[in-house]
């Protein structure tokens, strides 16, 4: 196998490989000799088939295999020797199209090698980690909204009229054209007026009823009602009001805390505080990561394989296009030309991706099986009832695993870099954090 370099420009490399007919033949013979003892053929005892006959029968089929193998082998050896790592699958092409048996095989191979990634002095990076303490005001606010969701209803005085926001307990029987219809009746139904649970007009007409009252409510089903046979029809509901209750905001006390599974109010407050802080920490981490990536992006400059950038830019353009045209869900649209902006973004992504991968590899950052399982579990939760299938799907699907592994790996590398970098802590308020997060999002 002869290898000659034809192109060495930037990151692009091209080579010409030549596989002589003799080499190919030897390879085929070797393969046949290996298989011979196992071959059975009519007229011969097992393993006694003469070589010439074997070659005639299986030669052409093995030839392709042998060719593939030798070329693959040569490529791998080449990569090993030169230390290049191809950015994408190398492009391999046979140049003599009208190849016949007995001819030499000429193969052209072209690829872009991954750039040498310069050492980065991680210790010189200084970062600011924002720390936000959950203050009492925020906790109280969260508590109040919690209390709201837990509101109770209390009987109103006898004879008082139902208002918006009140809960009315009533029986009703709905009729269309004098005929009761399916799903049109219920007993002791608790309805909060103004909640919009029923069809428009119904709740409004119930306003002002008293307990013990009977009232006919006439409403027209909306045109786009989900039950087609009812849509647009007029219906009469005869309602018997049983109770009218007024809403009572839940008191913020131990009772409420117990409702949410905490021991007492202080414990609940503690829990809320913890949760808020975790939330803040998550946001602060995102900001920190963004800052780190920005710094790395500034610090490191190296050539990027154009094909990678192009692929990434195309993907970005494609994704953005889909976001702008949410009505198109399939991929049956014209190709989308990435703009300059997309390319810039893609360059940044590719550079950082390569850099992080390199850093991770040097630092021997590994994603453990446990972390992997955790990630899969998290994903699986999005498919309630089908966790098992999802699990199996992931287990069999390498690409999916890769997709899940990538963010974990990235996170761990970021952690690792943060450890090395000088990280100063700064206490700020919630609003400032929010501003930082918004700024970061606007940047994208």
């Amino acid at each position: 196998m002869q290898v000659t370099e034809t192109l060495n420009e930037g990151l692009k490399r091209a080579y010409k490989l030549m596989l002589t007919a003799q080499e190919l033949d030897d390879k085929v013979n070797e393969k046949l000799a290996e298989a011979q003892p196992e071959i059975e053929m009519k007229g011969f005892r097992k393993g006694k088939v003469p070589m010439a006959l074997l070659k005639k029968q299986f030669g052409p089929r093995l030839m392709g295999e042998a060719m593939q193998e030798t070329i693959d082998g040569a490529m791998n050896k080449h990569f090993e020797d030169s230390g290049d790592r191809p950015a994408l699958q190398p492009e391999v092409k046979m140049t003599n199209e009208d190849w016949k048996e007995g001819d030499d095989v000429h193969v052209e191979m072209a690829y872009e090698k991954l750039p040498e990634i310069p050492e980065v002095d991680l210790a010189s990076i200084s970062l600011e980690r924002m720390v936000v303490k959950a203050d009492d005001a925020a906790v109280d606010e969260a508590l109040a909204s919690l209390a709201e969701t837990a509101q109770d209803f209390k009987d109103r005085k006898k004879g008082s009229k139902a208002k918006d926001g009140d809960q009315v307990v009533f029986d009703f029987l709905g009729k269309v054209d004098g005929e009761p219809f399916e799903g049109g009746s219920a007993e002791d139904y608790p309805l909060v007026l103004g909640s919009g649970q029923f069809i428009p007009g119904f709740e409004e007409q119930l306003a002002g009823v008293k307990a013990g009252e009977e009232k006919d409510v006439t409403v027209t089903f909306p045109e786009e009602y989900q039950a087609e046979h009812l849509a647009g029809k007029e219906a009469v509901f005869s309602c018997t009001i049983k109770e009218v209750k007024e809403p009572v905001a839940a008191e913020i006390d131990d009772e409420l805390a117990k409702k949410f599974g905490a021991e007492d109010l202080a414990a609940l407050k503690g829990q809320i505080g913890e949760r808020l802080e975790a939330e803040y920490a998550g946001a602060a981490r995102a900001v920190l990561k963004r800052g780190l990536l920005d710094k790395l992006d500034e610090m490191v400059k190296f050539d990027l394989p154009p094909s990678l950038v192009e692929a990434e830019a195309k993907q970005i353009a494609h994704q953005l296009w889909h976001e702008e045209h949410p009505e198109v869900h399939d991929h049956n649209h014209d190709g989308i030309e990435p703009t300059e902006e997309h390319t810039k973004l893609a360059e940044r992504r590719v550079r950082l991706g390569l850099l992080l991968a390199e850093l991770g590899q040097k630092a021997e950052v590994q994603v453990t099986d446990a972390e992997m399982t955790q990630a899969i579990m998290n994903q699986a939760r999005q498919y309630p009832g089908q966790e098992r299938q999802f699990f199996e799907f992931v287990q069999q699907n390498q690409q999916m695993q890769q997709q899940l592994r990538a963010p974990i790996f990235e996170d761990k590398v970021v952690d690792y870099v943060c450890e090395l970098a000088q990280v100063s802590e700064k206490e700020i308020s919630k609003d400032e954090l929010q501003k930082a997060v918004e700024e970061m999002e606007n940047d994208d």
């Binding site: 007229g43 005892r45 006694k48």
Partner: protein, 98 residues
């Protein structure tokens, strides 16, 4: 000598077995031939069809086995084989066909 239709009737097919392969090492080719053909006919046919010189022809009749099928006795057909020795320098590639 040009090939004629009756030549094709004489030669049925080449025999490709271990034994035939061994014979080929001594410059012989083995054919299955028509039952009613004789040595001169076989010689003529091989020379005409493959364009080679034939030194000698030996024939043998392999009797078909007696086989029982659904309790009934039956008999497989007999086969005439011809061991055709070629003159030095002539070869026939039996596995390629005509």
């Amino acid at each position: 000598m040009s090939a004629k239709a009756e030549h094709y009737d004489v030669i049925r097919k080449p025999v490709i077995t271990e034994k035939a392969t061994m014979a080929s090492e001594n410059g012989a080719v083995v054919f299955e031939v028509a039952m009613d053909s004789n040595k001169p006919q076989i010689k003529e046919a091989v020379e005409a069809l493959f364009g080679v010189k034939v030194k000698a022809v030996n024939t043998t009749i392999t009797k078909g086995k007696a086989k029982r099928f659904r309790g009934q006795m039956g008999r497989r057909k007999d086969v005439k084989k011809a061991y055709v020795t070629l003159e030095e320098g002539n070869t026939i590639d039996v596995s390629t066909g005509l």
